[in-house]
């Protein structure tokens, strides 16, 4: 549906210009914040998505309100605004899922995990799992965590806090867990699950949480199977849980 009621041109309307410029200002601000050293993983990911959103928004805004006609809406303003936000959300979620690993790799590029023993272990185990050997990166954070991406090429990130806490075998258990995530394409699955939860009303009927938990358990089982014992997976989990328990107090 197209409304033919003529509105001022995009660049002649100060309100539209202020909205677009404010969005670009938010993009700049979030970019500067992303460069900060002492950010937690969650906050950095949130800022990356917010940055992409505020960067994409002015372009979608321009496409929707550039001429005399407003798409999809009749003459209502609410419907195109909803469509515009949804489309911006979809585009920025897709771009963000590609950008986030790149930002993390770039931030960690000076901290590649150059431990020969660990690299050899990961190479051997990724061969067993039938995946390309992932690159290993260090995240400068005292919180113990590890995560992986397989969007462009397989990458595993390990925090220094995790290396501080875990012994060699426990670290191997975590790496095996992440290798399994890469083999399962878990980062793509997690992204899709998040995407579905946010945008699809049908997600309430899908048991995504349970499937994600099962995927986690499967990765744990794989690590136990490869190590021939559940001892190291359990002790690694215990140490990580204890850290976050103490952190809350």
């Amino acid at each position: 549906m197209i409304c033919n009621e003529c509105a001022p041109l995009f660049f002649g309307d100060p309100v539209k210009i202020v909205i677009a410029v404010s969005s670009l200002a938010v993009a700049l601000l979030t970019f500067l914040l992303i460069l900060k050293r002492d950010l937690s993983y969650g906050v950095r990911v949130f800022l990356i998505y917010l940055h992409v959103f505020s960067l994409v928004f002015p372009f979608v805004f321009y496409l929707f309100f550039s001429g005399c006609s407003t798409l999809f809406s009749g003459c209502s303003k609410i419907v195109p605004v909803i469509y515009m936000l949804l489309i911006t959300g979809v585009i920025s979620a897709i771009i963000g899922s590609v950008c986030a690993p790149i930002v993390f790799m770039w931030r960690s590029s000076r901290c590649r995990l150059n431990d020969r023993g660990i690299s050899r272990f990961v190479c051997r185990e990724s061969g067993v799992a039938g995946i390309r050997p992932p690159s290993l990166f260090i995240v400068d954070s005292a919180s113990p965590f590890a995560f992986s991406f397989s969007n462009i090429r397989p990458v595993i990130f390990v925090s220094v806090g995790l290396l501080d806490l875990l012994g060699r075998k426990e670290l191997e258990a975590v790496l095996l867990h992440e290798i399994m995530h890469i083999r399962n394409g878990a980062s793509i699955f997690r992204f899709s699950a998040f995407f579905m939860r946010v945008f699809s009303p049908l997600s309430m009927f899908a048991s995504l949480g349970r499937e994600l938990d099962e995927e986690e358990l499967g990765a744990d089982r794989y690590a136990c199977l490869r190590q021939g014992t559940s001892r190291f997976v359990e002790s690694a989990k215990r140490k990580i849980d204890l850290f976050f328990y103490w952190r809350k107090i």
Partner: protein
């Protein structure tokens, strides 16, 4: 001197474990988490995770700093104190006095004047 970011409720400036960790760091200067844990373990029942949390908290408060160090044991954080014991105590007094002045304004200043003025007179 770099200011220490304390919660100004001064009863909770340092927990007992934070104090123990700092006692270890002051003479030895640069230590890894596991090293601190091994030194503390004979004295008190403590977990490695708790020591890591305490060090991270001290880092956030600006009491200690850390660097990533690659050694034979792999990549680890090495923690070191930003202030020696005397500087730390001075900084603590400064922060506490500033917070009192911020909170109570002229009342705090006149209290300090009368209190330390009286003590100065008594000493004379």
């Amino acid at each position: 001197m770099k200011g220490i970011k304390f919660n100004t409720d001064f009863e909770s400036v340092l927990s007992p474990l934070e104090r123990d960790v700092l006692q270890l760091l002051w003479p030895d200067r640069r230590m890894k988490v596991r090293h601190i844990y091994e030194k503390l373990r004979p004295r008190r029942d403590v977990a490695l995770s708790s020591v890591a949390v305490i060090l991270d908290r001290l880092f956030e408060k600006g009491v200690v700093d850390r660097e990533i160090e690659t050694g034979r044991g792999g990549i680890r954080y090495v923690y070191y104190p930003l202030h020696d014991r005397k500087q730390f105590e001075r900084s603590l007094i400064e922060t506490t006095v500033n917070s009192l002045i911020d909170r109570f304004g002229t009342t705090a200043v006149s209290y300090f004047n009368s209190r330390f003025g009286d003590e100065g007179e008594k000493k004379k």
